[in-house]
Symmetry: C2
């Protein structure tokens, strides 16, 4: 029989009791973490959000409680009135914050019973993720999951404290908005009132935040849900949370330094970690050249070295041909890997093949010279030059990819990460932020046969480059920036175009007709005619930030109720079929092709 709390009021949280509470009467409420009978006593570890405490039931202290406690099982909900006592010598538990004391129960009420959970409520228990997600309410009882949600709360609180202090206003933007013709795939919401029409859930509040700058709000932020109906990769969710910011009358430096101070504040307030600011910066070009990635992990070396110029005259046809066709040969010096076996190198070759590399050439530097299947195609002085360029020393393994620059960067960029993992070069405690700046504004889209904006068509070019916009579109740098932490892109943004003349020139370079411009960006362009201030902003993936702060592997571990990779909520079984009446009201019919 289940009892009520009536007359009892919790006085303490389980996890906060210490030796200085000894002698006090306390009332605790929580869950049975573990129960054991021992020497005529019953011991229950009682758990609440704050932690665990040991409660002792003794027939000599209170017979009724002792008898009731025999019925208690794991995850029962209890209220306990009792007295805190120092534990007898030799029974102190040093692994437990409350380990110096225990509570002798004088009254026990069973507030609720519980079925046996499908898995133990313990830290670091290995449970299949589908089971964890189906029983998320039990998964979230695990102390480490609770700590993650507490951290997440504290991170958002710190962000809001910092930005409010700096005069930013949090302003809510609509969730039921207009389908955007560019970008990722929208989630759509049929309108009941307007038959045949649809709202879209926002991929980001980009347009609204720029409109808020037109509206003179000057400093805006929002921690906001965003939606993308994409095929989910490991680290994506159909709905995710973004810290979105926009400012007027600022330049790039203002935004970068504000962001740095924000990050320093958040890491200090929530984790007690002091970040060194300002963060180092890499241009896009440098990041691609040295790390083969626009989100470089700079916690370790293994940088890419261009040896193309040394390869022009070599007899090794594969390399020479690539160079002749305008390609590149770049290498990584895998320090201390000269002893890699044939199989190791085969594995690495398969690894780079995933990124399009047709092969992986290698040279092992031994005390007695270079060992390599391709060494015979090189003259001695060529080998010396290569080795020198790549700072090769005895014991090192030089690895090469020859291909178009994009393939070389992608293959070697990923090979670099793979080698770092194998060589355990990464200190998991280390936090290395880096800005990547000066992204290209445009890239040529082979399919569409026109230039497209890499960020979005409101991104401002770097001022010095504006005059060459039409002459050398692919060389124009954007006033865009990404913040990267440990090789993960935390966020990015740009200074926006606020001048109509530049905006119109950019649209022409993008090959958009006036009609297209009107249809796609009409109301926004109209807004921009009424006195738009210079402005810019940045947005961060909050889930990813918290994931890195909590040192978790997946954003699913930092979202209370995440979806699976097939965009399903295993707990509620969403999505699900709806009634014909609901569809009728929304003026839609199903168009489902029966599965074969």
């Amino acid at each position: 029989m289940v009892e009520t709390m009536r007359g009892l009021k919790r006085t303490h949280n389980c996890g906060e009791l210490r030796a200085n509470h000894a002698g006090q009467e306390v009332i605790l409420m929580g869950w049975v973490h573990k129960r054991r009978d021992h020497g005529g006593l019953i011991f229950i570890d009682l758990r609440d959000r704050s932690g665990l405490v040991q409660v002792v039931f003794s027939p000599e202290v209170d017979k009724t409680s002792f008898v009731k406690a025999q019925r208690v099982r794991g995850e029962y909900v209890l209220a306990v009135r009792g007295t805190v006592r120092i534990r007898p010598e030799g029974t102190v538990n040093e692994n437990l914050a409350t380990g110096e004391i225990e509570v002798y129960a004088e009254e026990l009420r069973i507030l609720n019973s519980a079925k046996t959970p499908p898995f133990y409520i313990e830290e670091n228990v290995e449970v299949d993720e589908t089971v964890r997600l189906k029983y998320r309410y039990l998964d979230l009882r695990r102390p480490d999951m609770q700590q993650v949600l507490i951290l997440r709360h504290r991170v958002t609180k710190a962000i809001r404290d910092f930005l409010s202090e700096r005069g930013f206003l949090e302003i809510e933007t609509p969730m039921l908005t207009k389908s955007t013709p560019e970008g990722a795939r929208d989630y759509l919401v049929p309108s009941r009132v307007h038959p045949g029409e649809f709202f879209a859930l926002p991929q980001s509040p980009q347009i609204f935040k720029q409109i808020l700058m037109v509206a003179g709000m000057e400093k805006y932020f929002q921690i906001v849900r965003c939606f993308r109906d994409e095929d989910l990769r490991a680290d994506r969710q159909p709905e995710f949370t973004q810290l979105d910011m926009e400012m007027s009358f600022v330049d790039r430096e203002d935004i970068l330094s504000l962001t740095e101070e924000l990050m320093a504040y958040v890491f200090w307030e929530t984790l007690g970690i002091k970040l060194e600011i300002p963060f180092p910066r890499l241009t896009y070009q440098e990041a691609m050249e040295r790390f083969g990635s626009d989100k470089p992990d700079v916690r370790f070396g293994l940088e890419l070295t261009d040896v193309s110029d040394l390869m022009q005259d070599v007899e090794f046809k594969v390399f020479a041909d690539v160079i002749r066709k305008g390609g590149q040969v770049k290498g990584i010096n895998a320090k201390g890997c000269a002893s890699y076996s044939r199989k190791d190198i085969d594995d690495l070759t398969k690894f780079v093949a995933v990124y399009g590399a047709k092969g992986l050439a290698w040279m092992a530097i031994r005390e007695d010279g270079i060992k390599s299947p391709i060494a015979k195609f090189f003259k001695e002085e060529q080998l010396v030059a290569i080795r020198e360029r790549m700072a090769g020393e005895p014991g090192d393994l030089l690895l090469f990819v020859a291909d178009r620059p994009a393939v070389v960067a992608d293959a070697l960029g990923h090979l670099r990460l793979e080698l770092a993992k194998r060589l355990q070069l990464v200190d998991p405690e280390e936090l290395k932020f880096v800005w990547v700046i000066d992204f290209p504004l445009l890239e040529y889209d082979e399919k569409e046969k026109r230039y497209v904006a890499i960020h979005h068509p409101f991104t401002s070019p770097v001022e010095e480059d504006v005059e060459r916009l039409e002459a050398e579109p692919e060389k124009i740098r954007a006033q865009a920036y990404d913040l990267v932490l440990n090789g993960t892109e935390l966020g990015g943004g740009s200074i926006r175009i606020h001048r109509r003349d530049i905006q119109e020139r950019l649209f022409r370079v993008l090959g958009l007709s006036e009609e297209e411009v009107h249809e796609k960006f009409g109301f926004m362009l109209e807004a921009f005619e009424y006195g738009t201030p210079p402005h810019g902003g940045i947005a961060f993936g909050l889930d990813r930030l918290v994931m890195l702060m909590a040192r978790k592997e997946s954003i699913r571990d930092v979202i209370a109720f995440p979806k699976t990779q097939s965009a399903t909520d295993l707990m509620t079984q969403a999505p699900s079929p709806v009634s014909p009446r609901q569809l009728k009201e929304l003026h839609i019919k199903l168009d489902v092709v029966a599965k074969k």
Copy 2:
């Protein structure tokens, strides 16, 4: 030609300059609020989020700026470098916070031009709301709209500060969730990955917040967007924002007193208004009896008086018949309205007819006795008794409605509000909070021929009433409560059922079969079997709270980008048609009946 900010950095906000800045060089950036030529000088009121300041352009100070300033028009965006000077005697503007000073411009840059806006950017300008919503970016430039968004930011900040301090965690719940079979109409989102299936946007996070209590989070809150696809009344929006809270191991008193402290904190921190707490409480029954409403405006009297017992033997058939059929006769004493004309009373009669009242009887108390078309049906002592019961004095007008109790309450409840408006009894500055408690748990649904839950089927009955659940379902009180401010429901909540036995009994009383229960509440009931703590919560309409705090008439005035009553965003023109490809991907077709 438009210029850049390069080399200039804003030093001050316009609205913050005072006499003590005199002699300082300042750099300001903002919008041209007004411009006038006068005596060889040009005066520009420059506006930013902080307010206005007068900038003076003189050919003697800087010829170039003066010439440029001649080109400037309203809403142009400017950067001005200049020196603060005390205004000459006689030109101080006491209506302006910066009215003691002006800024003599030494450099002017035109950062952007502007078309002439469709309405003046002024406070309290009368503009058609459709124009305001279409040009929301201009509407939001008006100082009073900016103040509203600033207040809204401060209110949410204060709520988060208060709740975080009390150990509450803000936890995000999904937006793409399961369609709920009860409640209002859902907005649906077709799934691309699961053909024929749909997500629903949440009407509230009710189920998730209870699940979080099962998960042991203990104290949860969230400021969260909610969605209801209803036909919009004046004060509703398809998407609205809710402050949602839930707590474990608490009883009703804990929730009410926490809420009172929260409101007191928020009003003090944001408006400097000291609320008196605790708030008074009315039972549902008392609220209905005295005010004819479960959201009574208690800023004034005009309470309802039951005179049914005095009417049993009267000759006035209309009243006597109603009483005989189990109805009521109740009245309001309209103080000082004895001189109301026939037309006034006709108007009031039409007014109550809207709420179903078939008539409005009246008795005017004059110095020389009672004047009333029905007086002749009453004996003298009956008139005396009525007058005494209703504290009638010479000059008063007694108004009566006789009908079923629900009609009497609705008609007189609204009549009371209408009279208060006519008699100007309401001090617009006054804030009167009141709790309405002890709502009925169930009501009999004549259409469905069964009892239905007034709040929702997880609301706990009052403990003393539980044993009579099956015997007298309509008399069971719920542990539910609403908070009412000045006659507007701010929010409400309840203690939830956490005991399986009571939940099952309630479902039986609701006439639900085991299958229905499983289908509708299956995963939640399963969750509840794994050790659910006693818990309860409350939720508030944030838009409405801010509306009352800002003394606005419509929630559209406290939402940055609201929708019209036909659920349209006039600025972006959402909803809108989408491409056939998008529909195909979502496995739906349009089912639109052509308009005749």
